[in-house]
């Protein structure tokens, strides 16, 4: 650590997040290393270190001889100010070396509101933010993660996108970069060769052409650029890298526990859920495999909590055996097991009973819509009866705080649907009155609503978002419909959702807006401390664009989308069909009941879905 850095660390909040030196961090001898990569997470240390993708890719890349992957996070405002004042460029935590000198800078883009931080981090590293202004081969700036399934808003800043699961793909790209360095290729030569790797999207090889109405008319591409880039998946999860030696922070982070990923993808197909379509097909780990890895991960971490992670853990076929195996190992060691994203069914509830014997903190359900009609529209296959039944079990078991999550502004939503949220919450309260084992402690039911954000690669990718005023009107309607004092209503601020919607379905021109926002001080935009609606509106105006065009406009059936260049497996045709089913109020069975032919099975070479 340089004396300059030491000095400023004494002046900032929570300096331990800027030092590195944690248990299990990977230190390599620079003499044995010919590819150095900075894994950049465009948010704080506390958020980034809780990200499973980071721990996986960090471990996987560092298993490669000659490659050293280090971590780098976005500094909070006080630290950024001190760094800029002291002339300290953005550095990697392991070595403390400036990342601008690395061979590759890889960003994890999990959510759109982190985009401005990408630019800020590049700038702090002394690296030009635009790809076109970086003429050398290194540092190569690449990105992966969920929001890359529409890479266009970030296309001007990123040299190369890696689509889908990165365990194999990232290493392939880094190996090619090694070859490029050795052979002295130009950046252009390298990118041309990289385009041949399945899952690599080089935005510079594509030029969007816009029509008079502002929509995308065509995409011109360079020779050698594939028409569509198909995301990569790991076909057999048990053969891929699985993190059991995670870096253990010496300071508190958001998720201080072992996160055990049990499967990828989801069989359900909720029509609003991007992850549900983008991560298809479903693949699972073996139960024995997981038990062994869980023990190793716990022993190597010292954590006293383990959580099972997936989009819908109740759908993990080996759940009873896994839970039994884990509990019998964890209980004598006083390690607790937590099970988020369980469905409100009987089995899951009895499991909850068992695992959370000690702490009956809070229980969360996400019916997403208040009426059965609207739940059918979004294909959220949970009935009121099932939900109330789960609540009954919970209340009988002594739980007395319950959170219910909903979205407002879903396609076809009417005022009746909004009021139905209040009715449903009242039913839950009624259930408590009937069945609570201990009424003297009272009950707290929290209803939360957020504004629906239509996302690319979902059946609702054509839909308009409701505007801010309309959302707030529905919020008022719901607030007035809730009369009981035992029901608390929270609603999310809609402005961030509007910007999120504009970014997530944005085209390449939106990159200019992101750059303008960053130039005007925007960063860490997912934090209310930093987000400024005015800054975003001014930037849109400055670029001659409007967020409404992207967020509120209902797309034509045949519109060419900026993200059509990306193939996530699920076909556009299938999404269109699902959209029709939504309007007809018809539910689609999950993959285990019937394969509806979404197209994701094309990604599998040796097996079928959910095997």
């Amino acid at each position: 650590m340089t004396p300059e850095l030491e000095r400023i660390l004494l002046k900032v909040q929570k300096p331990a997040r800027y030092t590195g030196g944690e248990y299990n961090e990977v230190i390599k001898d620079k003499q044995d290393v010919d590819i150095r990569m900075a894994f950049c997470f465009p948010d704080t240390y506390e958020i980034g270190m809780s990200n499973l993708g980071l721990q996986i890719l960090y471990g996987a890349i560092n298993e490669e001889p000659g490659m050293w992957c280090e971590r780098c996070f976005a500094p909070w405002g006080d630290m950024e100010q001190e760094m800029r004042a002291a002339g300290i460029p953005l550095y990697a935590l392991e070595s403390g070396d400036p990342i601008g000198e690395f061979d590759a800078i890889g960003f994890s883009l999990g959510y759109e509101m982190a985009f401005t931080s990408v630019l800020n981090m590049l700038d702090l590293a002394g690296v030009p933010v635009r790809s076109a202004d970086r003429h050398q081969l290194t540092p190569l700036v690449f990105a992966g993660g969920t929001s890359c399934i529409n890479p266009e808003p970030m296309a001007d800043f990123i040299d190369l996108f890696v689509l889908g699961e990165g365990e194999e793909l990232d290493i392939q790209v880094l190996k090619l970069l090694r070859e490029a360095k050795r052979e002295g290729w130009s950046k252009k030569d390298f990118l041309r060769r990289a385009m041949e790797i399945p899952g690599v999207y080089v935005p510079g090889a594509y030029t969007p052409v816009y029509g008079e109405d502002g929509t995308l008319a065509a995409v011109e591409r360079e020779a050698g650029a594939p028409e569509r880039v198909t995301k990569r998946i790991i076909e057999d999860l048990d053969t891929a890298y699985f993190p059991t030696k995670c870096v253990i922070p010496s300071t508190e982070i958001v998720h201080d526990r072992v996160v055990l990923e049990v499967m990828r993808g989801c069989v359900r197909g909720c029509r609003f859920c991007q992850a549900g379509f983008a991560y298809r097909p479903v693949r699972r780990h073996g139960t024995e495999f997981l038990l062994e890895k869980a023990r190793a991960a716990l022993e190597n971490s010292g954590y006293e909590e383990i959580t099972l992670s997936s989009l819908s853990t109740s759908d993990f076929k080996g759940l009873p055996q896994l839970a039994d195996g884990l509990l019998s190992w964890c209980e004598p060691r006083k390690i607790s097991l937590s099970l988020p994203s369980l469905r409100a069914d009987n089995f899951s509830m009895s499991l909850m009973e068992r695992v959370q014997k000690v702490r009956k903190s809070g229980l969360t359900f996400a019916p997403e819509a208040g009426s059965q009609r609207l739940r059918d529209v979004i294909n959220k296959n949970v009935t009121e009866e099932a939900l109330l039944n789960s609540c009954r079990i919970a209340f009988e078991g002594g739980w007395n705080t319950l959170k219910l999550y909903f979205m407002l502004g879903l396609p076809t939503e009417t005022d009746e649907d909004v009021v139905a949220i209040a009715r449903l919450a009242e039913q839950v309260l009624h259930t408590w009155r009937q069945y609570a084992s201990n009424k003297s402690r009272g009950v707290k039911i929290t209803v939360s609503t957020s504004m629906f954000v239509p996302k690319p690669h979902t059946p609702f990718q054509w839909e308009s978002q409701v505007d801010v005023e309309e959302y707030l009107r529905r919020v008022r309607l719901l607030r007035e419909s809730i009369t009981s004092r035992s029901i608390v209503y929270n609603w999310h601020e809609p402005h961030v959702s509007l910007i999120e919607a504009a970014l997530s379905r944005g085209d390449r021109r939106v990159g200019g807006v992101i750059e303008e926002v960053w130039k005007n001080g925007g960063r860490l935009d997912s934090w209310t401390d930093y987000f400024s609606m005015d800054r975003w509106l001014e930037a849109f105006a400055e670029c001659g664009l409007s967020p409404e065009f992207y967020a509120l406009r209902r797309r034509g059936n045949d519109e060419l989308f900026p993200w059509d260049v990306i193939d996530v497996g699920v076909t556009k045709k299938y999404l269109a069909r699902e959209r029709e089913e939504a309007y007809a109020g018809r539910v689609t069975p999950d993959c285990r009941v019937k394969c509806m032919g979404c197209g994701a099975n094309r990604l599998l070479e040796r097996r079928s879905c959910d095997e």
Partner: protein
């Protein structure tokens, strides 16, 4: 009761006291050593630290009491811990002790004072701290009071290590009331601003009881 003597240096000096407790718990779990838990509604591992260390200060002499649920050879414990510790936290020794932390009376410390204009200030610093009384304003939550810090300094030497870097080695009162090395700098800022360094780094060296006998 078992007592651990450990160092906290380098990058680990930025780990806060609260985070250190968490980190220690995890080190013990990773080492396979089961620490006795407290009784009560919210049981947590019983680990008691002497004299919490400020963020940014290094130490050669941290002490922590704990009790294991299963007997273990004390001499073997430091190696077990060090295999699974983050950089900069180093177990030196484990032994039984019945002495109470409140018997700690004096602390040896080192303070490195950095002057960006590269001046050599040892002489003037020596003079400053040799005064018969150094009255400092001490702010508590409610009031501002004047305290003479001289009685809290048992010994103090100053040397110039290089141009612009002076080293203060001092024996300071540890508690009730104590004088932290950072307060030596505050004294300069208040009483002799021209001697206040641009940056200072601190390290604890040793702990003593009221008879100036090494405390263990």
């Amino acid at each position: 009761m078992s007592r651990l003597l450990f160092r906290k240096t380098g990058r680990a000096k930025f780990i806060s006291h609260l985070d250190l407790m968490r980190t220690m718990q995890r080190i013990f779990i990773r080492a396979g050593l089961k620490v006795r838990h407290t009784e009560g509604f919210n049981p947590h591992p019983y680990m008691n630290f002497a004299l919490p260390l400020s963020v940014g200060t290094e130490s050669e002499c941290e002490l922590m009491d704990f009790e294991l649920t299963e007997a273990a050879d004390p001499d073997a414990i430091p190696a077990l811990l060090n295999r699974v510790s983050p950089e900069g936290i180093e177990a030196l020794k484990v032994y039984d002790s019945a002495r109470k932390f409140k018997e700690i009376k004096w602390l040896d410390i080192e303070a490195r004072l950095f002057y960006d204009n590269k001046t050599r200030e040892a002489e003037r610093l020596r003079e400053f701290f040799a005064a018969p009384a150094i009255v400092m304003e001490k702010k508590t939550k409610r009031s501002v009071s004047d305290t003479d810090i001289v009685p809290l300094i048992s010994a103090l030497q100053v040397t110039d290590l290089t141009d612009g870097l002076a080293l203060i080695s001092a024996r300071l009162a540890a508690q009730d009331p104590g004088l932290s090395p950072a307060q030596l700098i505050s004294a300069l800022e208040q009483r002799a601003p021209e001697l206040a360094p641009d940056h200072a780094a601190f390290r604890r060296i040793e702990v003593y009881d009221k008879d100036m006998v090494l405390f263990r």
